[in-house]
């Protein structure tokens, strides 16, 4: 996997706006952003309504993902290009789903919606209609997803990367600074985790930093041991999907999992160790 396999720039997207094999998909934290304007031809996925199970705390199962893709007109052979706000935070989360369910050709628009918008590129409100497909997903790829027991058993053994902001890591805040404080019963971080806020992987314009800069950030500055397996987590697993993308897709680290239960699960578990303050 290299950068050109998984990232496209805005010019590439403009040149493929009318390509029938390319499906643009907007996924935003603010699920109303699409309705105000989006890239021409793009469809919308709602990270909560479309991608989460409506009852259990889990995401849409294989059959549900097949239904969703078929209904939105996405075929198995289509090239899916995801983009969204906040440095592609939720687009990276959706990207991880597409990989979990075995979609072969999926990419992120580097810089996401913000870069596109701040460059005053064309935005429209027309919603495209795509003919229904018969999408077939694979079984979930468990090599990409960490569950709670695996996380607890990894303390002190694997790299744990906490990608939340420093204030969430030290226990001063329970949620990112633009969301109301909510959810986990306890603040802090998983012992032995390194804190590398997800946003450090992005330039100011939302594009990803160069591979060299990313290696320096994670290996040389944060002290991740690249010979070990890695689990990334945040609050609900979306920001850590962004870091998973960096480590697994851009830097080609072989064994990187996203812990989507993240702090809202871990910080509410009874009896697990928690550390407060700076990393030790």
């Amino acid at each position: 996997m290299s950068r050109s396999d998984v990232l496209v720039d805005a010019d590439w997207v403009e040149n493929h706006l009318d390509d029938p094999d390319v499906v643009l998909v907007e996924v935003d934290e603010d699920t109303t952003a699409y309705d105000k304007g989006h890239i021409r031809g793009a469809i919308k996925l709602d990270w909560k309504k479309d991608l989460q199970d409506p009852v259990r705390r889990d995401f849409v199962d294989r059959h549900g993902f097949e239904q969703l893709m078929s209904e939105r007109g996405i075929g198995n052979d289509d090239t899916v290009v995801l983009y969204g706000g906040n440095n592609n935070w939720f687009a990276a989360y959706a990207y991880w789903y597409f990989r979990l369910y075995g979609h072969r050709n999926v990419k992120l628009l580097d810089g996401g919606r913000k870069k596109w918008e701040l460059e005053s590129r064309e935005m429209v409100t027309a919603v495209p209609e795509r003919p229904r497909t018969s999408y077939r997903a694979t079984e979930q790829d468990s090599s990409l997803r960490a569950l709670r027991d695996e996380v607890v058993n990894s303390i002190g053994k694997r790299n744990l990367v906490d990608v939340r902001s420093p204030d969430e890591f030290t226990g001063k805040l329970l949620a990112p600074a633009h969301l109301p404080q909510e959810q986990a019963q306890r603040a802090g971080h998983i012992p032995t985790a390194k804190n590398v806020p997800w946003s450090k992987a992005a330039n100011d314009d939302g594009t990803f930093k160069s591979d060299d800069d990313l290696r320096t950030l994670y290996r040389d500055q944060a002290g991740l041991d690249f010979s070990k397996d890695t689990i990334a987590y945040c609050r609900i697993g979306e920001r850590s999907a962004h870091t998973w993308f960096v480590l697994h897709e851009l830097l080609g680290q072989p064994n990187v999992k996203n812990y989507d239960g993240s702090w809202t699960e871990y910080g509410s578990l009874v009896g697990v160790p928690i550390e407060l303050g700076e990393a030790r």
Binding site: K36, L118, G171, K172, L174, P176, E182, G277
Partner: protein, 122 residues
């Protein structure tokens, strides 16, 4: 936010954040109703509006940077040019980004139970 924050002190502040969480989700008779005003439950709110020539810009973003200048959060501006962050006590910078390479920084301080309002003209 302070790199030199002592763990004990962080713990006390975290307890405040947890009370806020409990008030929102708790089944144990949480405080509520008219006596509780927004922002009084442990949130340090930084909010504001952005205008360009007197009206909200067609597109734009507000970014929150911590004391060290590090990115903490970013939100698109609302239709009225509005933004809101739930921060922690301390010094912050709000950076507004708008088309045409416009950036505008405003330094603010925040504290629990307080609502800091900004008017940013770009």
């Amino acid at each position: 936010m302070n790199a030199a924050q002592a763990p004990g002190q962080a713990g006390q502040e975290a307890a405040g954040a947890q009370q806020a969480a409990g008030a929102q989700q708790g089944c144990g008779a949480p405080a509520g109703g008219i006596a509780v005003s927004a922002g009084a439950s442990g949130e340090a709110i930084i909010e504001g509006h952005v205008t360009r020539g007197g009206t909200p810009p067609a597109a734009g973003y507000a970014r929150l940077l911590n004391d060290d200048g590090e990115f903490v959060a970013e939100v698109p501006l609302g239709d009225d040019g509005g933004f809101r962050f739930f921060a922690a006590p301390g010094s912050w910078t709000v950076r507004v980004l708008a088309p045409g390479g416009v950036t505008a920084d405003t330094a603010v301080t925040a504290d629990y139970g307080q609502r800091t309002a900004l008017e940013v003209s770009i």
